[in-house]
């Protein structure tokens, strides 16, 4: 055959080669010159899983664990694998209905697709876990996963320890460099928040390959890029957990706070606030519900009164007033004031509880008798000190003393959101009295007896006792004594708690006079009921007038006088005289700490005090209204169950919400319950429903 068109063979070959060159060029473009595909491939296929280490544990001073880690279980579900699950059984065990089951299933699919596991029932109780576990073979697609949670064996110190919670967007914004991500848990308050970096440990990262449906296919490069998780380090605190428990027990059914510090180290032994809550309430499956209740409680159980409560110190301030005058050299311990039952030098008389002649003949006597006139006079001497040009300069010097004493400033305790309370600025008084230097020592006289605009937190009061006990020096109060495997960074942080602050230059002898005066308070003075056999206690009671109702009962003390081991401050709100409630509470706590036990003779007193109900009527009324609201709902529901009604079923369903979680909810029933005239004092059985009462 003639081979015509031979040249076309060449053309065809050229076309073939040309097309292959075009393909090669595109391959070059894709594989060599575009980096985006590599990144996209990694985003597609590599799944970074964060491995969470165990959180560090906090121990008390005797190395007992105040909180521990335990494992709870989440019931997880992979929706597309649930074919053949015994839904009736699972609903019975979890005590939900089929509609709820479907709802959770839909939520799971929306949240995490039907190929990926999501939580069906988070943090199931131990009992439900056991029942689920033995029936697990009936529930394909369901499985139980471990989740480490905190547990509190002593059920105490909730406000000190704080709680761990899921981080929110604000938290993420604030801690950008720490590598948190949505869904992580972090310490939200208390020590959990202050020492978050140490307790958290170091998280590990595990890379694995995932498929197009997000299912894990195996590890990436056999774990070459994985990092191991480092467990959080433990904290050794100065807290005495038994003392803490006792303090919380004694403050039961009261509103107030108690702080005990070891003056030798500044380590806080106990910090109780009342009302409080069982820390275990914020760990389990009921966490959300409980949190809602606590937040809405008007008595504010989440509010740590020990560092945030601001109280006028009242008479407990008097030793400090004396110290200022002693340090300035204005008085000596022998200084006396002829008090006749009132301080009259400033026109308006300031009453004194004592009228007997010579009850303020020396500093010691004045302290023992808590003479208002004596300390008013001493205060005026400090303000009108001739060393300073005018009262304002004298006041500023006095304020400087107060700040050095730790009043009106943050002590920098290792808890977040500490309050600095208030030692007023001259500007305040300038405004009050209509201009600069329009006021003198007489106008602000009651500052000298711990009233006027002065406030202090219980922690500040306890700290004041510390430096009186130490004769002029104190350590910044703190909880954590040492950190496991302390690093240099930790030491830098901890150094501020290991430095001794010197606040006065008063001789030990002069201090001795103050100590003796304070000891006399428990021997012959206002707080005889605080005395403990065999121990010399130096103390001062306070009955602080305040605008919120009955006087606050305040008591500060340290003991033993010769070698102070414990300094303490107790505040019971609206409870009357300092000696009635605050003093015995402090006394019992000191006995417990110093003798390691409370004598059998005083045990009934523990019960008496802990049972005493001193909650203000307004708060009681709130509880009562809340309870009757619930009862009214309950009653209506019961009626509806008994009698057949033709009501729309969806309407009756509406009232099954939790009235405590949503007290402000507008509902038809609310009007009814408001019509019930609630007596201000609630009936006794209502106390059982009081949520601040701990089990």
């Amino acid at each position: 055959m003639p081979v015509y068109n031979q040249n076309r063979s060449r053309i065809i070959q050229l076309i073939f080669i040309a097309v292959f060159i075009v393909i090669t060029a595109q391959l070059l473009n894709l594989q060599l010159f575009s980096s985006e595909y590599k990144i996209q491939a990694e985003n597609n296929a590599i799944y970074r899983k964060v491995v969470y280490p165990d959180r560090g544990i906090i121990y008390d001073r005797k190395h007992r664990a105040i909180l521990e880690n335990t494992v709870m279980y989440d019931l997880m579900v992979t929706p597309n694998e649930t074919k053949g699950t015994d839904t009736i059984t699972i609903c019975t065990i979890l005590d939900i209905d089929i509609a709820e089951y479907r709802k959770r299933m839909v939520t799971a699919i929306i949240k995490n697709t039907s190929y990926k596991p999501s939580a069906f029932a988070p943090l199931v109780s131990r009992e439900i876990f056991a029942r689920l576990n033995e029936n697990m073979y009936k529930f394909p697609g369901f499985f139980l996963t471990e989740r480490p949670v905190r547990t509190y064996p002593y059920s105490a110190a909730a406000n000190v320890l704080g709680y761990v919670g899921e981080v929110d967007t604000t938290y993420l914004r604030k801690h950008k460099i720490d590598g948190y991500q949505m869904g992580d848990y972090a310490g939200i308050t208390g020590l959990e928040a202050s020492y978050e970096k140490i307790l958290m440990g170091q998280r590990g990262v595990k890379r694995s390959i995932r498929d197009n449906k997000n299912r894990i296919q195996g590890s990436y490069e056999n774990g070459a890029f994985d990092t191991a998780a480092l467990a959080g380090r433990n904290l050794y605190s100065s807290m005495d957990i038994e003392l803490q428990q006792l303090a919380e027990k004694l403050l039961g059914s009261k509103i107030g706070s108690a702080v005990a510090i070891n003056p030798k180290t500044g380590g806080i032994l106990a910090m109780a606030t009342s009302p409080t809550y069982d820390p275990n309430m914020l760990t389990g499956s009921e966490r959300r519900k409980n949190y809602g209740r606590l937040v809405l409680d008007t008595a504010r159980p989440l509010f740590n009164r020990a560092i945030k409560g601001q109280y006028p110190p009242g008479s407990t301030f008097k030793p400090l007033g004396a110290l200022v005058a002693l340090d300035e050299g204005l008085i000596t311990p022998a200084y006396g004031y002829p008090c006749g039952g009132a301080y009259l030098s400033c026109g308006r008389p300031v009453k004194c509880t004592h009228a007997g002649h010579g009850h303020a003949a020396t500093l010691r006597l004045a302290l023992a008798n808590s003479c208002n006139s004596y300390f008013s006079q001493v205060f005026r001497m400090a303000i009108d000190n001739p060393a300073y040009p005018n009262a304002q300069a004298g006041y500023l010097k006095w304020k400087e003393y107060m700040n050095a004493f730790g009043l009106g400033v943050r002590l920098d305790v290792d808890l977040p959101s500490e309050d600095k309370a208030s030692i007023p600025d001259t500007a305040k008084y300038n405004r009050d009295f209509g201009g600069y230097a329009r006021w003198n020592s007489c106008n602000i006289l009651t500052l000298g007896i711990g009233q006027d605009r002065m406030t202090a937190t219980p922690l500040q009061l306890a700290n004041a006792m510390c430096f009186i006990a130490n004769k002029g020096t104190y350590y910044t109060p703190h909880f954590v004594d040492s950190i496991e495997n302390e690093t240099i960074e930790d030491t830098v942080f901890m150094n501020k708690y290991r430095r001794n602050h010197k606040v006065t230059n008063i001789s030990d002898e002069d201090f001795e006079a103050v100590h003796m005066g304070m000891q006399d308070v428990t021997e012959i003075g206002t707080a005889i009921n605080a005395k403990i056999n065999g121990i010399n206690i130096c103390a001062k009671t306070g009955t602080a007038q305040n605008p919120h109702g009955k006087n606050h009962s305040i008591f500060v003390a340290f003991a033993p006088r010769e070698n102070p081991q414990i300094a303490i401050a107790v505040v019971v709100e609206n409870a009357g005289y300092g000696s009635t409630w605050a003093a015995p509470i402090a006394s019992l706590m000191m006995e417990k700490y110093l003798n390691d036990t409370i004598s059998a003779k005083r045990l009934p007193e523990v019960e008496r005090i802990s049972k005493a109900d001193l909650i203000p009527a307004a708060i009681k009324h709130w509880y009562y209204a809340k309870d009757s609201l619930r009862l009214a709902k309950l009653a209506k529901q019961l009626d509806a169950d008994k009698a057949p009604t033709f009501e729309n079923t969806t309407d009756t369903k509406k009232i099954t919400f939790d009235p405590e979680a949503e007290p402000n909810r507008n509902d038809d029933n609310k009007g009814d319950s408001n019509k019930i005239k609630a007596p201000l004092i609630k009936p006794d059985e209502k106390q059982l429903k009081n949520p601040i009462k701990k089990q």
């Binding site: 055959m1 081979v3 015509y4 068109n5 031979q6 076309r8 063979s9 065809i12 070959q13 076309i15 073939f16 080669i17 097309v19 292959f20 075009v22 393909i23 090669t24 595109q26 391959l27 070059l28 894709l30 594989q31 060599l32 575009s34 985006e36 595909y37 590599k38 996209q40 491939a41 990694e42 597609n44 296929a45 590599i46 390959i209 995932r210 498929d211 197009n212 296919q217 195996g218 990436y220």
Partner: protein
């Protein structure tokens, strides 16, 4: 002419093609293995259990080898003699598909054979069409310079394609277009190719460029042509008519025909794929078929360029040297849909990178050029035309498949020859290639 070559099958056989064939089939099995590999389930025995795709492909390869040997042992005259009969059988099989066909992935082009195996007649028909076309073009009384012969040849090549389109297997139908390369070699006027290319360019230009801009551009080109050819035009008035006719046609296509076809003839997904290949979003709301769907109860599912994107990611992430055998994250994560069949090239691109792809393409090019060489050394026109048929079909498959995985061509379901998973496809290409080798072994004989 006795069958002297039957004494030894290896005599006169082109070993280079056999080696290339064997290497490519092996690469194919390994690629399918890469796609399906699961370290948890894999044992050495799973190559022979025949419940995984790579072991099935191994079985197909074995069957193909047997058939290859059978073909090499057969008489080459068989193929010339029965070419037309085969073709008629193939067409009948295509018709039978309409009755017996089974729906797989929306195309009714498969005949179930039992045992989980299916036959795709449109694949087999390529062999028969190639034989029939060779037979027709090599007839002594065919004068391919005549229009009548050209039309008949085109009809032979295009009938199975039309049937294929009716079976909703557009991809395979397009493969039949490759026979035009053969016809070009055998004397089809080059003008037709030029017109074809121009038409393609015009369509692409229509897709990319705004209608008015393009219309103006075409007018300018027409005006410029008339201006430069003004002397010839003066001499020959017909030229002016031709130019003006071409201009009217082009503008007509651009303004009316292309939008009409995209909006009314094509399904929404087809239009979208084509637009995606040139990098433009296609708005499905213009499409009449999707409008009909929307009018019905079922809302139209919005197809997107997921396939191409994932395919490009897989290949692009391979880099120069690739991630290594069985280490492709995209392959293991099954991100590329249909990876074992139409998108098999992505597993290769990811695991072995640019170097691997390049070597692989060179192997293919070598095979193609070798087949053209074989074609040109034939004495018989039948063998030559047939060889060109093989080269064209292979070329079309390779180019379209590879181009669609790297985003140069709209996605149509066309397998990569000898590599993609699938018995029909492997068998078809085996038979195509080995018939050629059989014919080539007997190239000293004049088979008309």
């Amino acid at each position: 002419m006795s069958n002297s070559s039957n004494n030894s099958i290896s005599k006169g056989v082109d070993w280079l093609v056999i080696w290339l064939y064997a290497i490519l089939v092996c690469i194919g099995i390994l690629c399918i293995f890469m796609v399906e590999y699961d370290p948890d389930k894999f044992t050495a025995g799973s190559f022979f259990t025949f419940n995984t795709n790579y072991s099935k492909q191994l079985l197909f390869a074995a069957v193909s080898a047997l058939i290859a040997i059978f073909i090499l042992l057969s008489d080459s005259k068989l193929y010339t003699a029965f070419a037309n009969l085969f073709y008629v059988f193939g067409i009948l099989l295509m018709f039978a598909t309409f009755a017996l066909g089974k729906d797989i992935n929306g195309s009714k082009s498969w005949i179930p054979l039992g045992g989980g195996f299916n036959l795709q007649p449109a694949e087999l028909c390529k062999i028969f069409t190639a034989l029939a076309l060779s037979k027709y073009l090599s007839r002594l009384d065919t004068d391919f310079t005549k229009l009548k012969s050209q039309v008949i040849a085109a009809a032979i090549a295009m009938s199975p394609a039309v049937l294929s389109v009716l079976q909703h297997e557009t991809g395979l139908a397009l493969a039949y277009l490759s026979f035009f390369i053969v016809m070009y070699r055998e004397g089809l006027p080059g003008v037709i190719l030029v017109i074809g290319f121009s038409f393609g360019a015009l369509v692409i230009a229509t897709l990319i460029i705004a209608p008015n801009t393009l219309a103006i551009a075409l007018t300018v080109i027409a005006a410029a042509t008339i201006y430069f050819l003004r002397r010839q035009v003066k001499r020959n008035r017909q030229l002016l008519i031709v130019i003006l006719g071409a201009w009217v046609l082009c503008v007509g296509i651009q303004r009316f025909a292309v939008p009409y076809i995209f909006n009314n003839v094509f399904e929404c997904y087809q239009s979208q794929r084509i637009y995606n290949a040139v990098g433009i979003e296609y708005d499905c709301s213009q499409n009449s078929s999707s409008k009909n769907l929307e009018a019905g109860a079922k809302a139209a599912k919005v197809p997107d360029d997921y396939n191409v994107r994932q395919s490009k990611i897989a290949i692009g992430s391979g880099g120069i040297l690739g991630k290594g055998f069985l280490k492709g994250t995209q392959t293991r994560g099954k991100y590329v849909p249909e990876q074992r069949t139409d998108f098999i090239f992505t597993s290769l691109g990811e695991a072995f990178g640019f170097v691997g792809c390049f070597i692989f393409l060179v192997l293919y090019l070598l095979l193609l050029l070798r087949i053209i060489l074989i074609a040109e050394r034939q004495r018989s026109a039948f063998s030559r035309v047939y060889a060109y048929c093989i080269a064209s079909i292979l070329f079309f498959h390779i180019v379209v498949n590879v181009c669609m995985t790297i985003g140069l061509f709209p996605i149509i379901g066309i397998p990569l020859p000898l590599i993609s998973y699938g018995g029909s496809s492997l068998l078809t290409f085996t038979v195509l290639i080995f018939i050629l080798l059989r014919l080539d072994a007997d190239r000293q004989m004049v088979l008309r």
